[in-house]
Structures are given as structure tokens and as C-alpha cells.
Amino acid sequence: MKPPGPVERPGSRRGGSNGARDCPTDRWCLWGGQAGTLRWSPSCTPRRASSCDHTGRSQSDPPVRFDPMRRSQVGRCGCRDHFVRKRWGQSRASRTMLSDDTLRAIGTRHTILSGKQKSNYFAYLSEGRQLTFQGVFRIETKSLIDAGVEPGLARTIVRAGLDDLIARGVTAPTHVPWTKGPVL
């Protein structure tokens, strides 16, 4: 196994603005995970920092990716579909997911993560706070970590999800997960 490539510190940017950097490949790793906005493309595959050589090739871990939801492929805690969901058919085309295989590869399971998400969103709602993308980022990241995912990878995955939503034109959460109502 090759040793991990160098990890840039915030401030030593490679591109973009606001401290954003890209992995020097056409794929993702934790290279740019410290600050700024990470880019997302269908080929992006966030990986564990310990195994990433910044080449886009996985050395030990299967790729982590979001897949489009299809009827035969129910969404699985994609950490970015819950908070923009309305009803099936209205937003299904833009909903994505982490597959069971991906959840398994990053060290958790759908049942574990789902329970953590509900607990964390419920705690958030109980405080009467307004749901923002920042709040979603914190809740979803905490949920992944609580479910056993490595913190750095959890942050990268959630950021990827949010960036993709923003790229699709979503400007704010419209739905509080596990509630009928719209965002508070």
C-alpha cells in the first residue's frame, strides 16, 4: 500500500475561493476536507484519509458515492434527501442516497444510522431551533459519527451531499425530517 499523500492545511489552497481546494485528481478525497467548498461530480468518491493517495484510486476502501434513487432502489439515509423531501413524485428525481453497500463500507448500517438521525433531529426540534443548512450539516454529521463513521469521512460525505443539493438549486431546507410540516 502506498503511503497517504500530503494533506494540505487550510490556507494553502490549490484552487477555488474561500479556501476551497480540490483533490488533484478528478475525484474526491479528504484533501480538501478542511475548509471551503468541495466539488461534486458523479465520479466523486470520498475516501478515508488514511488510504487516499490523491490519485482517485481506492487502495483498501470501496468508493463512497451517492446514487440516484430509483423505484427499485429505496433511498438509504443519503443525508441530503430527508430535508428537502416533500412527497414522492415531487422531488424523487433529485433525491439521492447512500446505498446499503456504501453504508456497509463506511462502517455502519441503515438501521443504526436511521435511529441516530431520528434522535438527533428530534433533539434539534425540541430546542425550537430553525433548521438551516448549517444545522443539517451538524445533525447529519453527528448522526453518521454516532452511527460509527469516521468523523472526517462523515463531514466529507455530508458536505458532498449539501454541495450537490446547492448545485441543484436548493437554497434552504424545506422539510424537517421526521415531521409532516415544513421547515420551522
Binding site: 414522492w88 448500517r109 438501521t111 443504526i112 436511521s114 421526521w178
Partner: protein, 124 residues
């Protein structure tokens, strides 16, 4: 949608969807548990359990996984199911019928499973 799509009847299409969404994923998770590959609290409990306890865990987990998958498929309208609360009553769409998503309601700590079951169950 007509009664059949191609060669398959509605019943066959429902069966295929049910197995794809519920049966197979639940079975896969159960096999992971008995192989010692399941993380979290239940994975730790499995590692510490004796043979008799593992048997109880495997059965309980398989049931919970299947119910979770069914509810999740309903939540996401992969299976759009309706329920009649009493004979002759109006069918109620299950998706959105609870304050929270059905799957999360079932599996979370303090959720439906914890509240209503009289049988052994294990935290995830």
C-alpha cells in the same frame, strides 16, 4: 398502469418489489450479523453473546430488519401501501401517517419497537 405490465401481473410485480425492498436487504443484514460483521451496539452484543443468546439475537434482528425495510419502503413510496383501521373504513395512506417517518419511529431508541414489543429485542 394496467393489471399487468408485460408478462407480469400486479401481484407478481408487487411480490418482486416486496422481495427486492424488504426480504433480500433484511436477509443480507441478518447474514452480516451472524458473520460477526455488524457494527454498533448490536454487533458488540453479538460478539459478547453465547450461542443461545446469539440464536435469539439472530431471530430478533431478522424480524426487526424486515419490518424496518418494509416501513422504509413505505416512507419512500417504493411500496405505496394503505391501511384500513377498521372493517369498512376508509383506507389511510401509511406514508406520512405518523409525526415521524415510520422506519425511524420503529427502530429508534424509545420508538415503537421499544414501546410495544413484549419479546426480546436489541438496541442498534
Amino acid at each position: 398502469m394496467t393489471e399487468s405490465e408485460g408478462e407480469r401481473t400486479t401481484g407478481e410485480m408487487f411480490a418482486a418489489e416486496l422481495i427486492d425492498q424488504v426480504r433480500d436487504p433484511a436477509l443480507k443484514e441478518g447474514l452480516d450479523l451472524v458473520a460477526g460483521k455488524y457494527p454498533g451496539a448490536i454487533g458488540a452484543a453479538w460478539a459478547a453473546a453465547d450461542e443461545a443468546e446469539r440464536l435469539r439475537m439472530a431471530v430478533s434482528n431478522s424480524v426487526d430488519e424486515a419490518i424496518f425495510r418494509l416501513l422504509h419502503a413505505i416512507d419512500n413510496a417504493a411500496l405505496e401501501l394503505r391501511w384500513v383501521r377498521s372493517p369498512g373504513g376508509e383506507p389511510v395512506e401509511l406514508a406520512g401517517s405518523s409525526d415521524f417517518d415510520l422506519a425511524g419511529e420503529y427502530i429508534s431508541e424509545g420508538g415503537w419497537r421499544d414501546t410495544y414489543t413484549q419479546e426480546p429485542h436489541y438496541p442498534y
